[in-house]
């Protein structure tokens, strides 16, 4: 069982072909946190969506980082990609943003000087 402060880091090539790895990691970790089947499915959709949004803005970035922060009953997923000149924040009036906010408990996005970062938090064990 994970402790309440475990974090798992994953670095994958910035390509859609590796999304399944990011998804599989999320699935395994959520299972440990006693997420239900349905919550895991939502989580997988959210991972896909967040990663796809960053990939669509990848520019010349070659890798994408995914960090999974495990707490007692929740998982926070932090996806980021190098983006030296593409500091545009993710617009809120998109379908992607709507999807993320509908199926997770909190979505946030930070644009740092050289990284685009999209995070979401999902609480498990409820539905």
């Amino acid at each position: 069982m994970p402790t309440s402060t475990s974090t798992v880091h994953l670095e994958i090539p910035a390509s859609g072909a590796y999304l399944s790895v990011a998804r599989a990691a999320a699935t395994g970790l959520a299972a440990q946190l006693q997420f239900t089947y349905e919550e895991i499915d939502d989580l997988r959709i959210a991972v896909d969506e967040a990663c796809t949004q960053l990939l669509a803005r990848r520019g010349s970035a070659t890798t994408m980082r995914v960090a999974y922060h495990l707490a007692d009953t929740e998982l926070r997923v932090d996806v980021s990609i190098e983006a030296p000149d593409r500091g545009d924040p993710l617009p809120r009036d998109t379908f992607a943003w709507q999807i993320l906010t509908a199926i997770t408990d909190e979505v946030s996005e930070q644009t740092e000087s050289d990284r685009l970062r999209l995070s979401f938090r999902k609480v498990g064990g409820r539905t």
Partner: protein, 271 residues
């Protein structure tokens, strides 16, 4: 299918007025194109999609024996159609259908290549997946919520890891025969609120490419998208409302999103 062969198919079909040719009025389509090229009006684009949908349906049918529902293939083919519409040059001395066919077929092929759906899933995983589908439904009934992986594992006497492997299969490959909807797909309760829902969907400023893609979805898929992402309903609640299983809702949702995303990323590549 080679590009040449694809051309022959389309030409043949259109000339003999077969199923794909039905409904494609060339003069009308040409006029639409002329206006579309001039104004780039999304409504005209949508109309062009509608006019050429029979061609997509015809081509999608050629890939039907690969274990993917026809409606999903049509969705994928429509992405190719949209690309062809956007790139078509009226000065070319070819019919649009001849021009569009390789693009649509290419999109369909890419779909199978990317998803690995042409790959055969090991029999062991197919069977595991089938039994998991059943167990998830039973457990959901029993406990009144979706089961955890540990609960599923205990029930089928497998390790959590094996269960996860089986579940991974469910969305990666179309190996499970989907349970049919309980009622007709267009029962009054389904169509009732469609008008209102469409407004919510359209209220969002999607990327230009997404609007027509959503508009081109089958009604049930569009409704599931709406209920999940705008209506705040869980997959189980949607399943109960539509009279299908939660896992069926899950698969439809995942496939629809995959098709929409493919369109999004494909657009980025060509921009």
């Amino acid at each position: 299918m080679s590009a040449n062969e694809a051309d022959d198919v389309t030409t043949g079909v259109l000339e003999e007025g077969g199923s794909a040719g039905r409904g494609v009025d060339r003069a009308y389509a040409k006029d639409l194109f002329r206006r579309f090229v001039e104004h780039r009006d999304p409504a005209l684009r949508e109309e062009l999609v509608g006019v050429h949908l029979p061609l997509v349906e015809y081509l999608a049918r050629r890939f039907r024996n690969r274990g993917e529902p026809l409606e999903d293939l049509i969705q994928v083919g429509t992405i190719g159609l949209l690309k062809a519409i956007d790139r078509f040059d009226l000065d070319r001395e070819v019919e649009f259908s001849t021009y569009a066919t390789p693009t649509i077929v290419g999109e369909l092929k890419r779909h199978f290549r990317d998803k690995g759906w042409a790959v055969r899933v090991p029999r062991r995983l197919q069977e595991l997946n089938l039994s998991l589908t059943k167990v998830v439904a039973e457990l959901s009934q029993e406990i009144g919520r979706s089961p955890t992986i540990a609960e599923i594992a205990a029930k089928v006497h497998l390790s959590e890891e094996e269960v996860l492997e089986g579940l991974d299969t469910s969305n990666a490959y179309a190996v499970v025969s989907l349970d049919a909807p309980a009622g007709g797909e267009d029962t009054p309760s389904v169509s009732e609120h469609i008008g209102v829902e469409d407004e919510s969907l359209e209220a969002l400023e999607y990327r230009a490419a997404l609007g027509p893609l959503i508009a081109g979805l089958p009604e049930r898929e569009r409704r599931i998208l709406y209920l999940r992402f705008f209506g705040g309903m869980t997959q189980s609640q949607i399943a109960a409302r539509l009279g299908i299983s939660q896992m069926h809702v899950s698969r439809l949702l995942n496939r629809t999103l995959a098709a929409l995303r493919a369109g999004l990323l494909a657009d980025e590549e060509t921009e």
